[in-house]
Symmetry: C2
Subunit: 73 residues, 2 copies
Amino acid sequence: MCNQVKKSRIESGMTQLQLAEKTGVTRQTISLIEKGKYNPTLNLCLAICYAVNKSLDELFWIDRRKNDEKDQR
Amino acid sequence: MCNQVKKSRIESGMTQLQLAEKTGVTRQTISLIEKGKYNPTLNLCLAICYAVNKSLDELFWIDRRKNDEKDQR
DNA sequence: ATTCAATGCAATATATATTTTACATTGATT
DNA sequence: AATCAATGTAAAATATATATTGCATTGAAT
């Protein structure tokens, strides 16, 4: 519902663990990012992009949040 | 040399302080991001995009790092 | 030559992203 | 029905993004 990481990872035929290893983080980190419960770091976003061969916009762009939505920065 | 934040901020006619206020962070945070010394959070990247009306790719994309470059995640 | 806005930068404090370890569930395979 | 890979999740620990405060410099304007 938030980002396209899970979709792209599956399209790339990778498991969470494989993507985690390829990007140098933990499986939980990948899991939580896919669940939209994490606010990942730019460098990690880029690493994921490289791993699944997508751009930042393709994986992480979110149309301008409505101004009444709470954001956690 | 790393991202296009400073360039886009200036084109938008904003000062570091104005961009900081608009994105809900501190001036130092903006300063360090522009200097490429910070690894900002995705939500902050998005807030900056919205503030200067650019996409993630336009502001933050970095072509796949050479594999001998150190990365700090 | 002063003033002031904009910026760079440093030290310490705080919030939060990420790790570590561990356990539970589901679905496929045997 | 037992095993195993893939995933979800939780608590505590660690690393690091961000805030806070404060001072220095530069350049434009007066």
